[in-house]
């Protein structure tokens, strides 16, 4: 068993009105960032867990997203990163 840290990105699905993202888009435009097309505001979740391999950690994180972390009706998620937590972190 190794300890992993898995990062998950969850964002409102395209086509679902995201008023927060719209407000941020407008603010960025007002600041002169004319190149900004659209912004979607979501959540970034970092999970520490034990797993045999990174693939197992990823699968577990996907299960967590399907069951709880993301709403399947309105949100999409992606695994943003998986990294082992080094021994000194929990020595």
């Amino acid at each position: 068993m190794t300890q992993y840290r898995v990062a998950v990105h969850i964002v409102p699905r395209r086509g679902v009105l995201d008023p927060q993202g719209q407000a941020v888009t407008d603010a960025l435009h007002a600041l002169g960032f004319a190149a900004v097309g659209d912004v979607r505001v979501g959540r970034h979740i970092v999970i520490g867990m034990n797993a045999d391999a990174p693939q197992a950690a990823e699968q577990a994180a996907r299960d967590m997203c399907d069951k709880l972390l993301a709403n399947p009706v309105t949100e999409d998620y992606e695994i943003a990163g998986i990294a082992p937590i080094h021994a000194e972190a929990h020595a």
Partner: protein, 230 residues
Amino acid sequence: MRFGVVTFPGSNCDDDAVHAVVDALGAECVRLWHKDHDLKRAEVIILPGGFSYGDYLRPGAIARFSPIMREVVQHAKRGYPVLGVCNGFQILCEAGVLPGALLRNARLKFVCRKVTLRVENDATLFTSQYERGQLLRIPIAHGDGRFTIDPDGLERLREHDQIVFRYVDSDGATSDDANPNGAQDHIAGIVNEAGNVLGMMPHPERAVDSLLGSADGLPLFQSLLARVSA
């Protein structure tokens, strides 16, 4: 017949629901705690408004895994009446008992005021004491009430007459101005396909006494009583 009102950590309309059932309706009511594993012989279950688990993650996302919810979902599947108001509606959607989801209000503001609803379906066990097209004045108080569903899901809701309440203006017409949260198709409340589970963002339990501004919510509870006692 007996009502059951569930309290989750963070519920804040449970007392109002009990008041509506006991004092306004004159029915029996039992309080249920989210950790309970049985419904104490309650026939009608009310999931009240509030901010269960601080709305962490998403409103209702964590409450739906409370032990009592297993019983509530079974109860609903057996065809007994379940009413979810505000946070209760959010919990029922998260639990998959009702279709769709409730997202942040389109204008990003928490809205707390009385709105006008139009009764779209008076044939449900929650609305038999209303008439189709009747206008009701009922308070809302939410930050995440924008009902959202995919196009197929919306089509199914319309086909099966599952849309029970819509937000309208004082003339009874739908408009963007009269839609307090940007809900799709102006939807304020829906039933499941079987018709025994109602979720609604407005608070009928806060509108059971004209002394407090409106008694338009009372017939909803009377409908349940009439149906279940019949």
